[in-house]
């Protein structure tokens, strides 16, 4: 150990001197990473974030209003809950509205590979945001979370389109009523 300390002193000589450590709580590794991700977050016009408690950057809401595609003009919001295990673990993201979408169930669970099985610590919040945007531009029938909607999309794209429009107005599809997401 003596030798290690002399190596440390040598190392220190090669660097600028650092003062004694802070006594107060340190910014956590997860906070550091989220702060970095937020500074790099490039949101298009169709999206914005809301932080209910600005001091808590690990919990926020993302609002998305697609300007093209089947879900055009709907207002959708997603809660982001990030744990202290980030980025080892992905953020927990849920859709707050009950919507008719093949990859989102009625509880707001989302089937997006990078939110679960394909999450990697090198991915960042930007990747998640892009992934969500993509789900609304290109809903896909091969990863169904809402089986009826997926079958609908696969069977008859026009009917699916009509069902999406009516669900977004707050209407019912196959006996299930949905939240109104358009003004």
């Amino acid at each position: 150990m003596l030798k290690i300390w002399s190596m440390k002193q040598q190392q220190q000589k090669n660097e600028a001197a650092a003062g004694p450590a802070a006594k107060k709580k340190k910014v956590t590794a997860a906070q550091l990473r989220v702060q970095k991700d937020l500074s790099e977050l490039a949101l298009p016009q169709t999206m914005k974030t809301v932080f209910p408690n600005p001091d808590d950057i690990l919990n926020f809401t993302l609002h998305l209003t697609p300007d093209e595609g089947l879900y055009k003009s709907g207002s959708f919001s997603f809660t982001f809950a990030i744990s202290q295990n980030f980025p080892h673990e992905p953020p927990k993201v849920k859709c707050q509205q009950k919507i008719y979408h093949p990859n989102i169930d009625l509880e707001g669970n989302i089937c997006l590979n990078i939110l679960r099985e394909d999450w990697k610590p090198v991915l960042n919040l930007n990747a998640v945001v892009v992934g969500l945007q993509f789900l609304f531009l290109e809903p896909n029938a091969s990863d169904p979370l809402n089986k009826e909607a997926a079958a609908d999309l696969q069977g008859d794209r026009d009917r699916f389109k009509r069902n999406v429009r009516s669900s977004m107005q707050g209407g019912s599809v196959k006996g299930e009523s949905f939240d109104k997401v358009v003004k």
Binding site: K3, K24, V27, L32, T49, D55, L145
Partner: protein, 431 residues
């Protein structure tokens, strides 16, 4: 695992003399082919180091208990152990419900008279730097990445050039079934837990749509009950994985699901295993990894032989026992952009009467920083964020506030900027 401790033969008897440590004393009393002449003075120094060093063991589960036993049998006399859990299995029937740390400490002390083990039943986060400063070395036998990251960041933050004792070697053991690793970290000098974050295998996850539509395995049915069904039917109840009623509920739901898809094999204990992410422990993997960790501790404390983690040398030993047997030892390099050790906090002298806005402007002017769109926060507070827009708006009023209202003397704050890969960290010093 106290049961394993019992199975361990105890060499010699404690008579209060050094008789029990005869062989160890011999080893430490003469130089060997690999001892470092500059660092190893045979005899009383290394023997005294073993006797006087204070070791902290974090975790008193399968790995932690094995580590405690090895340390005690290697002659360490002052050990502390922290574990927040109570016993639900693995130990002895009569101990169910008691704190793991206390039971493990008591058992090992009984077997190895003369060794004092002080348990703490609680979280590592309950303790502050003054507590961790007491120890010479920290060994982790944990199953939690979050806890590892926390102790790592704490030990990195404690290093103080004025005080050689502030450098606490961190030895980390980990096992998962037949696989394991041991690694040694000299905080701020060598690659840390955060540098090595991507070495942890991600938790195997099944796509949500598989769970929702075409389950194939009993585990899929349990995950479905856990992730989807609970939210649907018991939204307002927070799932407590230690509550038998909750596990039973999930088990029943999973069983119904499995029946529907003609899948067999859902059991109560499998439900518990999937929900709590219990990875079956293999006692001998724990023994191998614990042995490696304790050997490194012994060598670091005595300098009797070269150890893992010397800067510029190997610091990581991986072990695999599932495809025959394989081990590999290598140097995991320190990351320059590591958020914890890549950029250590620097002192920044601030006038408490000036405004946060002036501080932000000052950062923009600092030659090494020249931050254009900085985001600043402390552990508690978001000071000022240039982006995203919503946070800029809500934190803009802070720019007019006095430093003294926003930052305490000695408080750490982190600064990020899209132009820089790394985060800057500063400690506010009132001037």
């Amino acid at each position: 695992m106290a049961a394993e401790v019992a199975a361990q033969p105890v060499n010699g008897t404690a008579t209060g003399s050094r008789a029990r440590w005869k062989h160890m004393d011999t080893l430490l009393s003469r130089p060997g082919a690999y001892t470092d002449e500059d660092d190893f003075a045979p005899g009383s120094v290394p023997i005294g180091n073993i006797e006087q060093s204070r070791i902290l063991v974090i975790g008193a589960g399968g790995l932690g208990c094995e580590i405690l036993k090895n340390l005690a049998l290697s002659g360490f006399k002052h050990i502390d152990v922290i574990d927040m859990d109570t016993i639900d299995f693995l130990f002895r029937e009569k101990d169910v419900g008691k704190a793991k740390a206390s039971v493990a400490a008591e058992f090992v002390m009984k077997r190895c008279p003369g060794c004092v083990i002080t348990p703490y039943a609680g979280k590592i986060q309950d303790k502050d730097e003054d507590y961790y400063m007491q120890f010479n070395l920290v060994i982790c036998g944990l199953d939690s990445i979050e806890a590892r990251r926390w102790i790592n960041a704490t030990l990195v933050g404690m290093v103080d050039m004025e005080n050689p004792d502030s450098l606490k070697p961190l030895i980390d053991g980990g096992t998962e079934g037949f696989k394991g690793q041991s690694r040694v970290i000299f905080p701020t000098m060598t690659s840390c837990i955060e540098c090595q974050l991507d070495m942890h295998a991600p938790r195997a996850a099944v796509p949500l749509c598989t769970l929702a539509t075409i389950p194939r395995q009993p585990q899929h049915c349990i995950e479905w009950a856990h992730i989807i069904k609970w939210e649907e039917e018991r939204k307002d109840l927070v799932l407590d994985t230690d509550d038998p009623e909750h596990i039973t509920w999930l088990y029943q739901k999973a069983l119904g699901r499995a029946k529907e898809f003609k899948i067999e094999g859902v059991t109560y204990s499998m439900t518990q295993g999937v929900v709590k992410n219990i990875i079956p422990a293999i006692a001998s993997t724990n023994a191998i990894v614990a042995a490696s960790c304790c050997n490194e501790a012994f060598k670091i404390v005595t300098s009797a032989a070269s150890f893992l983690g010397t800067p510029g040398e190997n610091n990581y030993m991986l072990y695999t026992g599932d495809a025959s047997i394989y081990t590999y030892t290598f140097e995991h390099q320190k990351k320059d952009d590591c958020p914890v050790c890549g950029n250590l906090p620097k002192d920044l002298f601030v006038n408490p009467e000036s405004t946060l806005g002036e501080l932000v402007e000052g950062l923009a002017e600092r030659p090494e920083a020249q931050l254009k769109k900085p985001n600043l926060r402390t552990e508690e507070k978001t000071l000022y964020y240039s982006s995203p827009a919503s946070l800029e708006e809500s934190t803009r009023p802070n720019l007019k506030r006095k430093i003294s209202e926003m930052l305490a003397d000695g408080e750490e704050f982190a600064v990020s900027d899209p132009a820089f890969e790394i985060n800057f960290r500063f400690i506010a010093r009132y001037a």
